[in-house]
Structures are given as structure tokens and as C-alpha cells.
């Protein structure tokens, strides 16, 4: 299968400082972030990033503050230029683009949602939502119609003539999302889009995003520092630490098989029953006697409720109508206990 990734990063390095090209060789020879800062006064932003982002998937890049995740997303549309490495969008090297080509990429192929909303305070909500079309020079009627359509879709119908300062944070970010959707690009970059919102609104917005994604199948790159959020949204999860990728893959896989103590620590506080799904703990179909049928996408919490805590039960797992495996409640309970981190206890 030779499916071309929508976006891929190849050997991406970013060093902040005046002589970043010169000190790159030290980093390639294994100098650490701290040594680089002390000896050469350069800050290592990203090192050797190789990530493929598939079309129609949500790729979540997660890391703590200072891990380089915001730097990484800004490389995709070259708000930041890399020190070394390749950025390919639809197989085309973004680094080779002219200034006009880069603007075309930003206008037509990638839109972005920001942590601090970054709306234009002197423009009304509908003008903000229509911003990308106005930049391209679309006529007024098209701008208004498209912007209104997406404002309705994100639940802001009736607010089009308000100004951003008159809206709450959650509503402002809905405008931000409507602005990105109006651009009608294949790729959407979301930089900590929900981090500034309070928890209830954040859950609402996550659901809205998943709902939209079900319908639109965009390639979304989502940055977050919140593991719960990452696990909820991700089709592909990339974990960053000190500018390097520590582990990437399917989120359930990372949760069950953390690659190193850093990630073990990370995942140990998670409510695993709610995140893990039947698919991740089922076995191949061998038995014949089952207590019932379950769906492959059910999470473990609902299974515990259904079995009323009886660990001796077995269920048949269905994907749609087809039986694909079996679930032993005993395995399920075992999967709930995180592998103890080597650093603690």
C-alpha cells in the first residue's frame, strides 16, 4: 500500500539563535538541549522530527509547555522556517515555495485556529469569519453567504453583527473555527485551540470538532498539552518532549504500551476505563459461549457497567454485524491497571 501522507515532516530541526546553521552539526552529533544553551547560547526547538499525517485524520501533537509543539505546527505553514529538514504537503516541498506560492498555500490549503483566538477586534463576527475569502478577493455576497453558513454550523447564528469583544471566550473560538472552515481548506491547524477555555466549554468544543470531522473529513493537526483531550480526539498521537518525538502511533496502543518512563508517568493518571475501547483488549474469536454481543467501539467503562463487575464473563465483539473477536472481562480489568512507572513506587 503506497498511500501518500497528506503532510509529512522529514528530519526537521529547528534551533533558535543567530548562528543556528553552524550549531546544527553539534546537535546532529548528539549535543543535548541544555549543553547547547550553556555552551553556544542557542535554544534547541525541534530535533529530528519525522511525522506523517494522513488525509482525513486528526493528528494530535501532545507535549508539555516548552516541548516544541507550537513551534512544530508553525513549521507546517512556515510561520517559522526550519533550520534543516523537509516539509511535504501533498508531496510538494513547502520549503521550495516562492513567497506568492507560500501565500497561496496559506490561503487555499491550510487554515489555522489559535489559542488566543486572534480575531480582528475592529471587524464584526461575520467579517471575521469571511476573512480568508476577503483575502482571496471573493465578492461580498459570496463572503457573506459562506461565512453565515459556517457561523450557523458552529452555533453562532444571530451573532454575526456582534464584535468579538462582546462574545465569551467559547463563542470567540467558535468564530475562530468558523473562520478556518470558511477558508474551505483540506488541512486545518489547531494550536491549543481549546486550552484557553474552561472545562465544560472545552468538552463542548471537542464534541463540535468531532462532529464536524465526521462530516468533513479534513486533515487536522491539533496541538494540546492535555492528554485527555489528545486521547479523545486523536487518530494518530505524537508525543513530544524537549523538541523530540518520544512516541507516536495509535493512541490506544500508546496507552497500553508506553515506550518509556516519561510516557508511563504521563498516562498513569488517565481514566483508562473511559479512554480504552474494546478493540484494544479483545482477543481473536475462538470460544463459542458468550454472555452477549458488544460493539468494537464501546469503551471499557460501559463494559464494566454492563457486566456488573463480574470478571468471569466473556463477550462476543461485533464490528457492525460481523463478529471480529472476543472479550474476556478478566483481560479488561488487567488493562485498567497502568504499568507502574520505573521512576516511581
Amino acid at each position: 500500500m503506497t498511500k501518500q501522507p497528506k503532510v509529512s515532516l522529514r528530519g526537521l530541526y529547528k534551533i533558535f539563535g543567530a548562528n543556528h546553521k553552524e550549531v546544527l552539526s553539534y546537535v546532529k552529533n548528539g549535543m543535548s538541549k541544555d549543553d547547547l544553551l550553556v555552551k553556544h547560547r542557542h535554544v534547541l526547538g525541534l530535533q529530528d522530527i519525522n511525522v506523517d499525517m494522513q488525509a482525513g485524520e486528526i493528528t494530535v501533537v501532545m507535549g508539555l509547555s516548552g516541548s516544541g509543539k507550537s513551534t512544530l505546527i508553525r513549521h507546517l505553514n512556515r510561520l517559522i522556517d526550519p533550520t534543516a529538514g523537509e516539509i511535504l504537503v501533498d508531496g510538494e516541498d513547502v520549503m521550495a515555495l516562492s513567497e506568492a506560492g507560500l501565500r497561496e498555500l496559506r490561503q487555499m490549503r491550510m487554515s489555522m485556529v489559535f489559542q488566543k483566538f486572534a480575531l480582528l477586534p475592529h471587524r464584526s463576527v461575520v467579517q471575521n469569519a469571511a476573512m480568508s475569502l476577503a483575502i482571496r478577493g471573493a465578492d461580498e455576497a459570496t463572503q457573506k453567504a459562506e461565512a453565515m453558513k459556517w457561523l450557523q454550523r458552529v452555533g453562532l447564528g444571530g451573532y454575526e453583527n456582534h464584535y468579538p469583544a462582546q462574545l465569551s471566550g467559547g463563542m470567540q473560538q467558535r468564530v475562530g473555527i468558523a473562520r478556518a472552515l470558511t477558508a474551505n481548506t483540506d488541512i486545518m491547524l489547531m494550536d491549543e485551540a481549546f486550552s484557553a477555555l474552561d472545562p465544560l466549554i472545552r468538552t463542548d468544543m471537542q464534541n463540535l470538532l468531532l462532529e464536524l470531522q465526521e462530516e468533513l473529513h479534513k486533515t487536522i493537526v491539533f496541538i494540546t498539552h492535555d492528554l485527555d483531550e489528545a486521547l479523545k480526539l486523536a487518530d494518530h498521537l505524537v508525543i513530544l518532549k524537549d523538541g523530540a518525538v518520544v512516541q507516536q502511533g495509535e493512541p490506544q496502543g500508546i496507552l497500553l504500551n508506553p515506550a518509556d518512563p516519561y510516557i508511563e508517568d504521563f498516562v498513569s493518571d488517565i481514566n483508562r476505563a473511559r479512554v480504552l475501547r474494546v478493540k484494544s483488549v479483545m482477543e481473536p474469536l475462538t470460544g463459542t459461549k458468550f454472555a452477549g454481543d458488544v460493539d468494537i467501539r464501546d469503551n471499557l467503562e460501559s463494559m464494566i457497567a454492563r457486566s456488573e463487575g463480574d470478571t468471569s464473563l466473556h463477550y462476543r465483539v461485533l464490528d457492525g454485524k460481523e463478529p471480529v473477536g472476543e472479550l474476556h472481562m478478566r483481560d479488561l480489568v488487567k488493562a485498567l491497571v497502568p504499568r507502574i512507572s520505573s521512576g516511581k513506587n
Binding site: 480582528l120 477586534p121 475592529h122 480568508s132 476577503a134 483575502i135 464584535y163
Partner: protein, 342 residues
């Protein structure tokens, strides 16, 4: 025998000194010595200033040569400067004369309603408009209407030109750190140089009968705040919003017109307000070089010690200042309205 003789001797510069003109103008001490017949003793250890060194060595320049040099240099450059500056600044004369003529010709019963309409349009505030009406009425009551209108017309023209010049310079400064570094000292100079001092070269360059003479003086003085605050305003625009503009592929013109200037507008308006105030301050001083208006009465008050004339004119200037300030501030706060929660 002067103090520094031995120094020049020790340095072996005796011949060079002797080559200098010994017939240089005399110093004060020499004159005194000549007239009283006895040598005046200098200080025990005089500072090695040009005049003191000149006493020991005729080849060293005297301090009066420095001021003379500046004057000669300026006079030598004057024809060239004049041939460039004269045509460039000629429209300023026309504008000023035109404005003075317009304000002077339109009868008061048309002019006052026009001014009130402008105040209302800019401020949308009933209180401010009524205040403007009362102030102009008061000035007219004591027969200061004509001079007040002259002052006002000069301010309108000079502020307008200051904004036209200042905003582009401010924009350019905000885009280039190097330009900012080189322009800021010039702005500091313009703001701190005593206002009388830059009247002097202007008097040399242009004839006192031309209105552009005081026009240039006022603009040079008043353009500074609008440049500074345009530069500052654009630099203070929220970096996140600029990033969003970049991320959606705006080109630099779209960014400037659609994002930076509108977001910097409150600061630019504050700069315009300051510019108006400074041109009002300068228009009084410019009356020294034939600028008409209330300043002439102030000058008359000083020259002839006519206390009442000076004070009435002074209060007239204060009234104009308050009017202009209130109207421009009300316009500024109206611009801010959409930015705040309400």
C-alpha cells in the same frame, strides 16, 4: 607670555605656530593690556580652550571662527538649499494663504455652523458641540473672531500636512529597526531644540513675507508626536493577530490596511491630538516671523506692555486649545467604542 607657550615649544610646533597669522583679532585681555598699559595676568592654569591656545600659537583657530564657520557654511549652502526647498515648499504657502483667505472670507454666520457641524461629526457629543459654540461665541463677542479664525486655519493646514507626512514616516519606522534608530534622534532634536533656534535658519532661507516660513516651523515642531505614536501604535499591534493575518496568507499591503493601521488607530489619533496641541503652541511663537492670528496680539502685549491685550489673546488661545483637544479626544474615544465590552 601665554601659558601654553612651553607646550607648543616642547612639541616642536614652534615653526607651525609662527606660520599662523599673528594678526588674528585680539583677545579681551590683550585689549585691556593695551589700554591700561600693564599686562593682565591670566588664570593660574587656564583650560586649553581654543582662545587660550591661540594666544600661544597663532595657527590654532579661535572660538569665534567656529560660529563664523557655521554661518559661512550655511550661507554658502543657501543658494543650493533654496533652489531645492523653495519649489517643494511653495504649495505650503498657497495652502496657508488659501486657508487664511477662505476662513477670512466666509461670513461668520456660515462659518460658525460649519465648525459646529464638524465638531458634531467628529465627536458625536452634544456637550462638546455646545462648548465649541459657546467658546467661539465668546471670542467673537470680544472681537477676536477674525484672529481666532486665522489661528484656526493655520492649525488646520499644518496639522493636516503633519499627518500626511508623519503617518507614512511612522509606518516606515515601524517596519525597519534601522530606520527607527536613525530617525528617533532627529525627532528628539526637533522636540528639544528651542523653538526660536530653528526659526533662525528658516529666516535666512525664506523671506519673512512668505507664509511657508512659519508653516515649516510649525510642521517641523508638530509632526513629531504623530510620527512617534504611529510607529509605537503599529509596533504594539497584538502579535497573535498579526500571526493570524500571516497564517491566512495576507500580503503586506492587506496586513497594513486591514490589520495594522486599524488596530493602531487609537494611538495614531492620540498622536494627532498631540500634534494639534503642539501646532497651537508653535503658532504663537511663529507670530515672531509674521504668522497672523492670536499670537500677534500676545506679541503686542509683550512688546508694548499692554497687559489686557496679551491676556485676552492668551485666554483665546486656551479656549481654542480646549476646543481642539475635546473634539479630537471625543473622536478618539468613539474609535475605541467597538473594542471594549459593552
Amino acid at each position: 607670555m601665554a601659558f601654553y607657550d612651553s607646550v607648543f615649544q616642547a612639541l616642536g610646533l614652534k615653526d607651525w605656530c609662527a606660520g599662523g597669522s599673528s594678526a588674528a583679532p585680539m583677545s579681551m585681555n590683550d585689549l585691556l593690556a593695551q589700554s591700561t598699559g600693564k599686562e593682565i595676568k591670566g588664570e593660574f592654569f587656564p583650560f586649553p580652550s581654543l582662545d587660550n591656545l591661540n594666544e600661544s600659537c597663532g595657527s590654532v583657530l579661535q572660538s569665534r571662527d567656529v560660529t563664523k564657520g557655521i554661518e559661512d557654511g550655511f550661507l554658502a549652502a543657501k543658494p543650493a538649499l533654496k533652489s531645492v526647498l523653495d519649489p517643494i515648499t511653495q504649495p505650503l504657502s498657497w495652502l496657508l494663504d488659501g486657508a487664511l483667505w477662505t476662513f477670512g472670507t466666509i461670513p461668520w454666520f456660515i462659518m460658525i455652523p460649519i465648525l459646529l457641524a464638524i465638531s458634531w461629526y467628529a465627536s458625536r457629543s452634544r456637550a462638546v458641540t455646545i462648548f465649541v459654540g459657546l467658546s467661539i461665541g465668546l471670542l467673537a463677542l470680544v472681537d477676536h473672531y477674525d484672529v481666532a479664525m486665522q489661528t484656526l486655519s493655520i492649525i488646520f493646514v499644518c496639522t493636516g500636512i503633519s499627518v500626511l507626512i508623519g503617518v507614512p514616516i511612522g509606518i516606515a519606522m515601524s517596519k525597519s529597526d534601522r530606520l527607527q534608530k536613525s530617525v528617533v534622534p532627529i525627532l528628539d532634536l526637533l522636540q528639544t531644540l528651542p523653538t526660536f533656534v530653528y526659526l533662525i535658519p528658516l529666516i535666512f532661507l525664506f523671506s519673512v513675507t512668505e507664509s511657508k516660513l512659519y508653516g515649516i516651523a510649525i510642521i517641523l515642531y508638530a509632526v513629531v508626536p504623530v510620527i512617534r505614536l504611529t510607529d509605537l501604535g503599529i509596533r504594539l499591534v497584538d502579535k497573535d493577530v498579526i500571526e493570524a493575518a500571516n497564517a491566512f496568507g495576507m500580503n503586506s499591503r492587506q496586513k497594513l490596511v486591514g490589520v495594522e493601521l486599524p488596530l493602531a488607530l487609537p494611538n495614531i489619533m492620540a498622536g494627532v491630538n498631540q500634534t494639534i496641541m503642539m501646532s497651537l503652541a508653535m503658532v504663537v511663537i511663529a507670530s515672531l516671523v509674521s504668522a497672523p492670528g492670536l499670537g500677534v496680539n500676545v506679541l503686542r502685549g509683550i512688546r508694548n506692555l499692554e497687559l489686557g491685550v496679551g491676556i485676552v489673546a492668551g485666554i483665546g488661545i486656551v479656549l481654542l486649545a480646549v476646543i481642539l483637544d475635546r473634539v479630537s479626544k471625543a473622536a478618539l474615544s468613539r474609535v475605541d467604542m467597538t473594542r471594549v465590552k459593552h
